[in-house]
Symmetry: C2
DNA sequence: TATTGTTATACTCTATAACTATA
DNA sequence: TATAGTTATAGAGTATAACAATA
């Protein structure tokens, strides 16, 4: 029987096949490391890079951001405050509801978002560069199915409001 | 042409196929959420859960831990200090090198590590539960290849010292 | 001198609770 | 009353720099 639950553990050698759980867990750490490296190279944190990525073509409210990121609204307040202090985003009050604030990228933020997304794409593609094209396509399809299966059990956010009020 | 670089962005609908990058990135967030949920359910943080997982059958030194987690050694000092304060790990001085300290799980830590690994395995498996067995096997194999490819470009740690000095 | 680990410091990230303003 | 957002507080996680002890 193959050794199973290597959750979060370092590889012991190149011979054994990782189970589904260990493979996905270790792969997720690899992807998160990419986020960390790209973020650090721009003096940012992973969550700030993720935030910029989300804002590239949306103007969500604070609460929508909190729901999507699964963070408390007070946490998002701090996140946006620091991003605003760095000149990457702006808060825009809604014209239809005086309590609501929309968050958008500044030109600087837009630029940084594009660069970050580009670097992340390059590095993630590099991780898969030794797979043949058919295997990469399979992997993309399988990952998509997992993401879709999970999303269908929860319902989305943010799909509607692409424009500012 | 299919829309490409959705890095870190929410899904817009269930129709489109995510690219390789977006699929892997979003999947990694899903896996990290599992870690977060399991950690929170035991009043822990994801990094502490990962730490326990690593220590299940190893007694690494502080520096080995730092290298494997890609954290500064001072960060690991804090991590271990908090875990020790909670009674989950102990520091054991090396008998052969007076500067070195090995970290091991306490019985409580061992127990919590097993439970955490079990819950994470269950939840990650649940993510893939709607894939047919052949697809799950493919996914495991592909994830393993990515992890192996990356590891081969860096060399491992921690493979040797399973025992206490 | 070099290595291992800790400490001091400063910052980001995070949730909880209490608050303000608007609906 | 209920909702959107902020602030105050406390704690975890993080890196940098300076330090102590050992090799």
């Amino acid at each position: 029987m193959g050794r199973a639950d290597q959750v979060g553990q370092p590889e012991r050698g190149a011979g054994e096949e990782l189970g589904l759980v260990d493979g996905l867990v270790q792969l997720s750490f690899l992807i998160q490391e990419v986020f960390g490296r790209v973020a650090a190279s721009h003096k940012m944190t992973p969550i700030q890079v993720r935030l910029l990525g989300i804002l590239r073509d949306r103007a969500p409210t604070m609460l929508e951001l909190a729901r999507f990121l699964k963070l408390d609204k007070s946490t998002v307040s701090g996140l946006i405050a620091r991003a605003e202090r760095r000149g990457l985003v702006v808060r825009t009050p809604s014209s239809v509801d005086g309590r609501v604030i929309h968050v958008t990228l500044t030109p600087d933020g837009q630029r940084l978002a594009e660069v970050g997304v580009e670097e992340i794409s390059r590095q993630v593609n590099a991780l898969a560069s030794r797979l043949p094209a058919t295997a990469r396509a399979q992997l993309a399809a399988l990952a998509t199915q997992l993401v879709r299966n999970d999303a269908s059990g929860r319902g989305f956010d943010l799909a509607a409001d692409k424009t500012l009020p």
